[in-house]
């Protein structure tokens, strides 16, 4: 949302442009155009940009794109989770339980280079331990994946804080990570996973202390984070906080789910006859056209008189 300055001095142009992710999408549109020159010039240039931005608006743009693209903006992340849900909802309906590797295969059908690490982190939230072979239900896995995929920077920071608190540091000395140290956080967090697992069984952390540290983190955090009120609510419900059960509660929290806006509530997770229709259309298009960059955007309900262009 752009900031409205009520005293009549408008937000300067470059700030307005930088506020959203518009420049990112413009750049990507041109890159894609250059990579597929032949296809899109027969399409028509204006129609290409119209389809590109319509598909971004309708959240259909992330299908079959590379991982760096789908995680680049919050809108992309939410769209990808939603697309995954739309494509594989049938699994939830049939009640099948799948393993981490099987979920990863499904993810890779939609995003060829989706990393195993992200899938494992989501699985850990569901399973609360580091066992890769455990089977998970579709809804459990997807809500956990949503949390970790949408707020990765925040969860990494929080893990470090949690570990510091477990190690006995007082809240005042707990280092609040800034955005510049994200990469460092990732490697440290990975190292500490096994250590954490052992301690998980024995100790928890005092909820109010953790709440205090999370507050400090949110104050200075440049990335997005779950609403503070939701986190405080979850923390207020126990006497001792264990990291993965805390994350699982967050994953299941309806307000956080609504804030992200990608998935319906748990009650409605499997219900939607209109989705079934869209799903059939999607499957039909995937099976007809092998490279699906143009058909992905056409699913978004654009004008009927412009059917998706098939490749020659």
């Amino acid at each position: 949302m752009t900031r409205v300055n009520r005293f009549n001095s408008p937000v300067p142009d470059h700030e307005y442009l930088a506020d959203g992710d518009v420049l990112f999408y413009l750049r990507d549109a041109v890159t894609q155009l250059l990579d597929h020159q032949q296809e899109y010039t027969t399409f028509g240039l204006i129609r290409y940009f119209a389809e590109y931005f319509s598909s971004v608006k309708n959240s259909n743009h992330v299908l079959f794109r590379e991982y760096n693209y789908i995680r680049a903006t919050p809108h992309n992340r939410a769209s990808f989770i939603r697309v995954f849900w739309r494509c594989y909802r049938q699994i939830g309906k049939s009640g099948d339980l799948l393993s981490t590797l099987e979920y990863r295969s499904l993810l890779q059908l939609l995003c060829p280079d989706f990393p195993l690490e992200m899938v494992q982190r989501a699985a850990r939230i569901v399973q609360m331990e580091d066992v890769v072979d455990c089977l998970m239900s579709f809804s459990d896995f997807l809500y956990a994946l949503q949390l970790h995929f949408y707020y990765p920077e925040f969860l990494n920071s929080m893990l470090l804080i949690y570990q510091d608190l477990l190690a006995g540091k007082s809240p005042n000395t707990v280092i609040v990570p800034t955005s510049t140290s994200i990469d460092l956080l990732r490697s440290v967090a990975a190292e500490n996973i096994s250590k954490e697992k052992q301690q998980q069984q024995q100790d928890g952390v005092d909820p109010s202390t953790l709440a205090q540290c999370i507050d400090a983190l949110c104050d200075r955090f440049k990335h997005s984070h779950p609403p503070r009120s939701c986190m405080r609510e979850v923390l207020g419900q126990t006497n001792k906080v264990y990291y993965y059960s805390f994350l699982m509660s967050l994953a299941k929290h309806e307000s956080i789910n609504q804030t992200i806006g990608a998935l319906p509530s748990r009650a409605e997770f499997l219900i939607d006859p209109e989705m079934d229709q869209d799903l059939d259309k999607l499957i039909a298009q995937i099976s007809v056209s092998p490279s699906s960059n143009s058909s992905g955007s056409a699913v978004g309900g654009l004008k009927e008189e412009h059917p998706p262009q098939e490749e020659d």
């Binding site: 949302m1 752009t2 409205v4 300055n5 009520r6 009549n8 408008p10 937000v11 142009d13 307005y16 442009l17 959203g20 518009v22 999408y25 413009l26 041109v30 890159t31 894609q32 155009l33 250059l34 990579d35 597929h36 020159q37 010039t41 028509g44 240039l45 204006i46 129609r47 940009f49 119209a50 931005f53 319509s54 971004v56 608006k57 079959f64 794109r65 590379e66 693209y69 809108h75 060829p112 280079d113 490279s291 960059n293 654009l302 004008k303």
Partner: protein
């Protein structure tokens, strides 16, 4: 397969420095040949002017509009199609213009004055089309069309927007702003113009701005009522509501008063800076009258005395609307009368 993989990831293969140089050269050539720079520059300029809250949606609509114009031919505004299509198509085209004008008016909030003014201008020009004229800013851009901006004068092809279209615009603005038809009816009664009248830009802008502010005002009044009344206990007490409305009225009258003072002085040579200060003081005074403290005092006083009975949400809303509308009347009609008369006169003498 490998080629497809490469294209999907959008990356060039490593280890080919010469290939990279040729690729970026040919990329640049392709882009300039296709006119991508012009296209995007135009889009970004429009986007920054409009300052929409949803830039992606804006771009999607912008390009879709452009695409439909260029795909149905640039003949949208040319002589040939306009005459051969007949009155039915003209009506449909009018509706299309109305929709697009409304879309423009929705982009920026009225508090963002410059962006809002830009959008009002664009909307006015869109609705002002009475003849087959090429308009600047609406020329479609594409690889095959050479772009020439043909500038038009301020009034466009016709002498103003048709009264009926203007009234329709105001109606849509109010209803989209969340104001029920019955509440906005008195306002529209005062603002509307007859079908045959030609509405000049100033009136148009004033009307649009008034409706935008009115929508905000009604929404705030609804929220005010929600604060004053507890839903479980049924409608709020009449006395309470009247006291709140009274405070609001007082504040509005104070601000009205200072406008009147300033207007009277405008014939004399008043230092404009001083004038600005006087105005500011008046508005501060008015807003002080509606401060939480004052409001609380009024409400506490009302509970002790005042008429009995309840006031429901609808009545409160209508009363608040009335406070607003009485202030609109005098400002506009005077100007409107003068300007419209001259417009009609001009049309009659065939100017």
């Amino acid at each position: 397969m490998a080629d497809k993989e490469k294209r999907r990831s959008g990356a060039t293969p490593p280890g080919m420095p010469e290939g990279n140089a040729t690729k970026s050269d040919s990329d640049r050539e392709f882009l300039s040949r296709a006119g991508v720079g012009e296209l995007l520059r135009g889009a970004i300029l429009k986007m920054v002017e409009a300052r929409s809250d949803d830039p992606i949606g804006f771009l999607a609509d912008h390009f879709c509009n452009l695409a439909s114009v260029s795909e149905t031919g640039t003949a949208g505004y040319s002589d040939v199609d306009h005459f051969s299509d007949g009155p039915l198509s003209a009506g449909a085209q009018e509706q299309q213009h109305l929709n697009r004008a409304l879309w423009h008016l929705r982009l920026a909030h009225h508090s963002q004055r410059s962006a809002f003014s830009n959008n009002v201008r664009v909307a006015y020009d869109l609705l002002n089309l009475t003849g087959p004229l090429r308009r600047s800013g609406e020329v479609p851009q594409g690889p095959d069309v050479s772009c020439t901006d043909s500038p038009t004068e301020g009034g466009g092809g016709g002498g103003g927007v048709k009264g009926g279209l203007y009234t329709q615009t105001l109606q849509c603005l109010c209803s989209e702003g969340g104001v029920p038809a019955s509440t906005s009816a008195p306002l529209l009664q005062r603002l509307h113009c007859q079908d045959h009248e030609a509405v000049p830009y100033d009136i148009f802008r004033h009307g649009v701005l008034t409706c935008a502010v009115f929508s905000d005002y009604i929404r705030q009044a609804q929220r005010l009522y929600a604060e004053v009344c507890c839903p479980d206990e049924g409608p709020a007490s009449r006395a309470l509501c009247l006291s709140v409305l009274g405070t609001l009225k007082e504040a509005l009258e104070t601000s009205q008063g200072c406008e009147a003072n300033v207007c009277d002085n405008s014939n004399m040579k008043v230092n404009s800076c001083l004038e600005g200060n006087v105005k500011a003081l008046c508005y501060l005074e008015a807003s002080a009258k509606i401060s939480p403290y004052r409001l609380g005092q009024a409400m506490a006083g009302a509970q002790a005395r005042g008429p009995g009975g309840n006031m429901d949400a609808k009545e409160f809303e209508n009363a608040a609307a009335e406070l607003f509308i009485t202030r609109v009347k005098s400002a506009i009609k005077k100007n409107a009368g003068q300007v419209l008369t001259s417009q009609i006169y001009q049309q009659q003498i065939g100017a």
